[in-house]
Symmetry: C2
Subunit: 477 residues, 2 copies
């Protein structure tokens, strides 16, 4: 496999396939998510779905075919999405009278039904979510990051006023940041997008940005305050307490299978994937060692231990079914596939009741590989896994901090964004953002929510910054 340090992009393209996360689809830009990759998505989905429901949202399912005319009702929206659409023109053996767009996102069709379901202020807030596949025709497809079809959840809500809609927008952003940190061990930075980077049709767009191990930024989830733009396009109105008709304020927010790409690029190394335990299909793999009778004895012990570990609610796999492969091959294989904890049981271990515990990465000096008593292992593993999860987050946070620097001169800017993030002042003009992008390929990733208040002049053009803080600039996926 190409080392990560040598060619990050080639490493990524190889590891996603070799680790059996994904395969290229039959149509350019599509992907087949294999069981090992899909399980990561299911684990993320289960947690996020629980949070969405606990906050009062209901899941629903809207059709994926949207009449082309719906998209045209919101001018910025159609302009933003038109180049990426897949269009059904023939169905049931006949040319359709009106072509159908395969949803690139569902604001328009959901707006149509919000208008139908909302009459009174009593019907608000309307809090909907759907788990769905969407299609955006990509010119530069890359597995998980930009595929023509991808999976996501899209929240769509309607509110009585801007204040309530903004609370929702912030709730979604906070939730995404928590899921990224707690499950994916990604220390993302939440913040607002500049005008030039807004969602097509939004009044304000918020994002969480993660730093990948090549120093680039990944937008890992977005939350939009749509104002009354879609309410006016789709006539989403309610009667207020005085009986007057008012437009609802709507939001939308989404997190997608792109997160799997984020996990790979935040934690992976030359050996392959490194999966955070909370998203690992197998948190622990047990490899019994030995041939013939000795192999049978260690395999029996491995299965016994596996059952005990499983009863602790831990996802464990016993690798006792591939006699044709050597232990060394198996070790490398599970390391490449990112399994957090490997337990090796050799013939000589049996009498002593011990095994070897190997972490995918050493969490501290000397904490890589160690001999441990097997009897206590099932009880100790939850803490070992929690420690490994915390270690990955801390490691990623340290990496991000090391690769982020305040930059106040245009000379320093280019060097900094070539391998990390620059904290810099900006004038706020979209033309100036375009100039920066043309020169360096970097874009403003966000106005960081937690950035300290500071005044300064644009790193590119020297005009004063209207943001009152530094922006994060970086090259993006």
């Amino acid at each position: 496999m190409t080392p990560q340090s040598e060619d990050f992009s080639a490493w990524y393209n190889e590891v996603v396939v070799k680790a059996q996360l994904v395969d290229r689809g039959p149509v350019r830009g599509t992907m087949v998510i294999r069981p090992y990759g899909y399980r990561i998505w299911e684990l993320l989905q289960a947690d996020l779905d629980r949070r969405i429901k606990e906050a009062g949202h209901d899941n629903a399912c809207f059709p994926m075919f949207i009449p082309e005319s719906y998209l045209r009702r919101e001018a910025e929206h159609v302009e933003g999405f038109s180049p990426e659409l897949a269009v059904v023109t023939v169905a049931g053996g006949k040319e359709l009278e009106e072509p159908l767009v395969v949803r690139p996102t569902s604001e328009t069709v959901i707006g149509e039904y919000m208008a139908k379901w909302i009459d009174s202020h009593r019907d608000l807030p309307l809090l909907l979510n759907q788990w769905a596949n969407v299609v955006r025709w990509e010119l530069r497809p890359r597995m998980f990051l930009r595929t023509t079809e991808f999976l996501w959840q899209e929240g769509h809500t309607a509110h009585i006023d801007e204040a309530d809609a903004m609370r929702e927008t912030e709730w979604a952003l906070d939730t995404y940041a928590a899921v990224a940190r707690e499950l994916a061990a990604m220390p993302v930075v939440p913040g607002e997008k500049t005008a030039g980077e807004r969602f097509a049709g939004a009044v304000r767009t918020y994002t969480i940005e993660g730093m990948m191990r090549d120093g680039r930024a990944l937008q890992a989830g977005t939350s939009h305050y749509l104002g009354t733009n879609f309410a006016k396009a789709f006539n989403i109105q309610y009667q207020d307490e005085e009986g007057a008709l008012q437009y609802a304020h709507t939001t939308s927010w989404g997190m997608s299978t792109r997160m799997i790409g984020g996990v790979i690029m935040t934690h992976g190394d030359d050996k392959g994937l490194v999966l955070p335990p909370r998203l690992a299909p197998y948190q622990v793999v047990i490899v019994p060692i030995g041939r013939k009778e000795q192999g049978e004895a260690t395999a029996a012990e491995a299965r016994r231990l596996g059952a005990a570990i499983k009863s602790m609610g831990i996802r464990v796999h016993v690798d006792d079914n591939r006699p044709q492969l050597s232990p060394g091959f198996k070790f490398n294989d599970w390391e490449m596939r990112g399994v957090p904890i490997r337990i090796e049981i050799g013939p000589r271990d049996l009498a002593d009741g011990v095994g070897t515990l190997a972490r995918r990465l050493p969490t501290a000096e000397g904490q890589g590989k160690e001999t441990i008593p097997l009897a206590r292992l099932p009880e100790e593993l939850p803490q070992i896994l929690a420690d490994f999860q915390a270690f990955l987050l801390a490691r990623a946070e340290a990496f991000r901090n090391e690769h982020t620097r305040a930059v106040d001169s245009w000379d320093d800017f280019g060097a900094q964004v070539s391998g990390g993030w620059a904290l810099a002042f900006h004038c706020g003009r979209t033309e100036c953002e375009d100039d920066i992008k043309a020169d360096t390929a970097a874009t403003p990733r966000c106005i960081p929510a937690d950035g300290p208040a500071e005044q300064g002049d644009c790193v590119k053009c020297g005009r004063p910054s209207p943001y009152g803080k530094r922006l994060i600039f970086g090259k993006a996926y």
Copy 2:
């Protein structure tokens, strides 16, 4: 609402919308599944997904766009599905070189990847499943039963030989029958389809058939043994233990949102839905009664009781947020929406610590509506709900038995299938099936797995029956 007894079809179309299960989509034949309907699907999905995983299958996700050429590789398959396809011809602003079919089912695309992933007998069985949306352009769409887009799971597996593939086919059928009985309280009949009713490309097709309250049959899940048809079309081969290349034997099986239609038509009545507790979004609704201070007191008690019931793991809703509606309206509303158990708390009940428990249907003489002490209710509800679930299954089974009759003459056949199922001998010829359908609109629903061995002559043409048992005939959805 149109009474069920007067016009079953009109009743169905009205109740699905009024109960807020579904709305008509913007494109003919599509549906919007609303939260109340989607929750039923989620409950079914969670249970079925658990069974699928426990039996060793892995979930995956294949692209929904399939190159048109894939479908043509299996002759019967393309012939069966061609008239129903939706086709993407334009994407990213350009005409596509090869049109893309939106999957009507995924045997072809999954076959392509099975061929890639399977090398040796060690790779078998390969047990895959996906939860997906599929598209079949319907001429006579009906919400949940036949919509152009619907949700389902589709299992796809590859095996070493016919015997192993047939075990899988039967496992899927048994699992569907168990889910239908245990969750949906639908006493379905499992059996094999005749040749004329087989899935396009299958060697054998199995089905579970439920009887709806108009006496018609609903095919509620199917399981197919595909032989080596798709293995030959997609080159799914493995090396056996001697190193020789062999074709794998494949299966596929699916259950869909159609099941929601089955629940509605198996249990509903003139008042509206009747939902089995295991699939009810709200198993219990509490309606506090009274105005002003009295209303506040009963609402407080309702919320307290609701929290206690929720802590028992029961899905409960407290209807304390619609002061503009009368208690009578609310009672009718929850009955129409099929809630199994309603608790009413009036001002006079508070001092006595009692409430009124109303079942959606009386489960026995005098067991409709009763006064009960509220303190014991949270503990008693699990049994009350289990009894209601069992009652619905028994009621549906009795209904099915009352409307099923052995028929040995063509004169009796037409009358029997006009309002139920006929158990009849058949010659096995597809032309004869077609004649029966042309005359009576009835089709052979299945060769019931549990049907007693019996010999006889075809009810239509008098030729001897090759099945060794009676077939079930009925009109189908």
